[in-house]
């Protein structure tokens, strides 16, 4: 049986040499957590099922720094590595694949030019294309945002998830903006709605505050994986500790 995955997410500020991992709440208020590849290796050794880097600076001139981060990481980390943030073209994606990344995660570029999803999928395979959706509740639906939560699009997250699948996305990385970084728990309703709407894996993100909330996202929320940052960065739990808890709840994990 396929195990549920626990994925530490490293939000990277690449404006300093080698980059640094940061963590904000509700997309604001920044705290520093360490050197990207050192943290990645630590999480790998502590049982992370995958590693995800998000470039929160996302300006073109920082691409080389991300390439370095991925390259250093992949020498020592033997689980899948995803890179997101500011990937706008097949070339941008190719650059991180060449240094060892397994998947790219795209949000703004996918919404602005959906064709990019199909191009990436055709070129690198659907397994390499993660479409990230940042959504918040708006009345009767969830609205997608772009530019790291700075602009709202009016697009319905459920509709967009289905479209992304049909374009060739291999996974959906779903972030609840109402909950992100708040540690209040995932938005279970949103997670479940998207998981039921598509036939590709859904990674729940945003609001992994307690072990219970992660278990809920994977069971009641029907997510295939959970992505979290704060609970790992500040030493509250290791990935294995999270998984031991899930195993006790009869959730299948790799231990």
């Amino acid at each position: 049986m396929l195990a549920k995955r626990i994925i530490p997410c490293l939000d990277c500020d690449l404006s300093v040499p080698n980059g640094r991992v940061v963590k904000g709440t509700k997309f604001k208020q920044i705290r520093y957590a360490g050197v990207p590849w050192e943290l990645a290796k630590q999480y790998y050794e502590q049982g992370a099922d995958e590693i995800c880097f998000l470039d929160i600076t996302a300006s073109a001139d920082k691409r080389e720094t991300m390439a370095r981060v991925v390259e250093e990481t992949c020498r020592e980390v033997f689980v899948p590595v995803t890179v997101g943030g500011g990937i706008k073209s097949v070339e941008d994606a190719n650059k991180v694949f060449k240094v060892g990344a397994d998947k790219v995660s795209i949000n703004t570029a996918a919404i602005k030019q959906p064709k990019l999803v199909s191009e990436l999928s055709r070129r690198f395979g659907s397994q390499a294309v993660v479409v990230a959706i940042d959504a918040r509740r708006k009345g009767s639906f969830w609205e997608c945002s772009i530019y790291g939560g700075r602009k709202f699009t009016g697009i319905d997250a459920l509709q967009w998830a289905k479209k992304a699948e049909s374009l060739g996305a291999g996974e959906i990385l779903l972030t609840s903006m109402d909950k992100d970084g708040t540690k209040e728990g995932f938005d279970l309703e949103l997670t479940r709605a998207v998981s039921e709407a598509v036939n590709i894996p859904v990674i729940a993100s945003g609001g992994a505050g307690s072990l219970e909330s992660i278990a809920a996202a994977l069971s009641a929320g029907k997510a295939d994986a959970a992505l979290a940052a704060s609970i790992f960065h500040f030493g509250e739990y290791t990935p294995n500790e999270v998984k031991e808890f899930l195993a006790k709840k009869q959730i299948k994990v790799r231990l």
């Binding site: 195990a3 995955r5 020498r75 689980v79 060449k98 291999g170 996974e171 590709i200 295939d224 790799r254």
Partner: protein, 190 residues
């Protein structure tokens, strides 16, 4: 590709990444990773002459490890590209997962190991490995199965026939267990 190279470097090997049939024939051992589409990959192999090189290499009895699509290409054909021919090193066909499960399978799943398989020396039964695939190989000859995995059905997730080894999962992305499997392969002696 890069990941397999990184894993082999980590094990202290000096892998040569090549698309040259001559280099393949000169090698002591070959790791044959692959991602993408069955038909396109088969076509690329034929155009470059790598198909013949791989078959000759295997015929010489030297250790060969196919990974993911590199496992599937060893078979005769695939539902993914019905008009294309695989290398036909092994009997059988590559089939699509049933519609009852999410496709592609992405993530960590368990290996149910057959006894006495060299690739899995020191690896515990039911160990987890990382999989990414929409199709699986169904060998015509049951005796080649080295491990099975459950995903909508039970399928062959690793095989061995003489010096030909293959895994549907990615050992280079399967943590310490994966490195152990690759180590077993690189340390193999006749």
């Amino acid at each position: 590709m890069r990941s397999v190279e990184n894993a082999l470097l980590k094990l202290g090997e000096k892998p040569l990444v090549t698309g040259s049939p001559e280099k393949v024939l000169e090698a002591e051992k070959v790791v044959f990773p692959g991602v993408g589409n069955f038909g396109q990959a088969a076509e690329t192999l034929r155009k470059s002459g790598l198909d013949k090189a791989v078959k000759s290499f295997i015929a010489e009895g030297k250790p060969f490890l196919g990974i993911c699509l590199g496992m599937q290409l060893l078979f005769e054909k695939s539902e993914e590209s019905k008009e294309s021919k695989g290398l036909g090193v092994l009997q059988g066909a590559v089939q699509k997962f049933p519609a009852t499960v999410k496709v592609p399978q992405i993530g960590w799943n368990q290996l149910e190991l057959r006894d006495g398989k060299r690739l899995f020396k020191g690896v515990a039964d039911k160990s987890f490995a990382y999989f990414v695939h929409s199709y699986y190989a169904a060998p015509g000859d049951e005796s080649v199965v080295a491990a099975e995995t459950e995903y909508g059905l039970r399928y062959c997730s690793a095989l061995q026939r003489g010096n030909v080894f293959a895994c549907q999962f990615h050992p280079e992305k399967s943590g310490e267990i994966g490195l152990k499997i690759l180590k077993n392969f690189v340390e193999m002696r006749d």
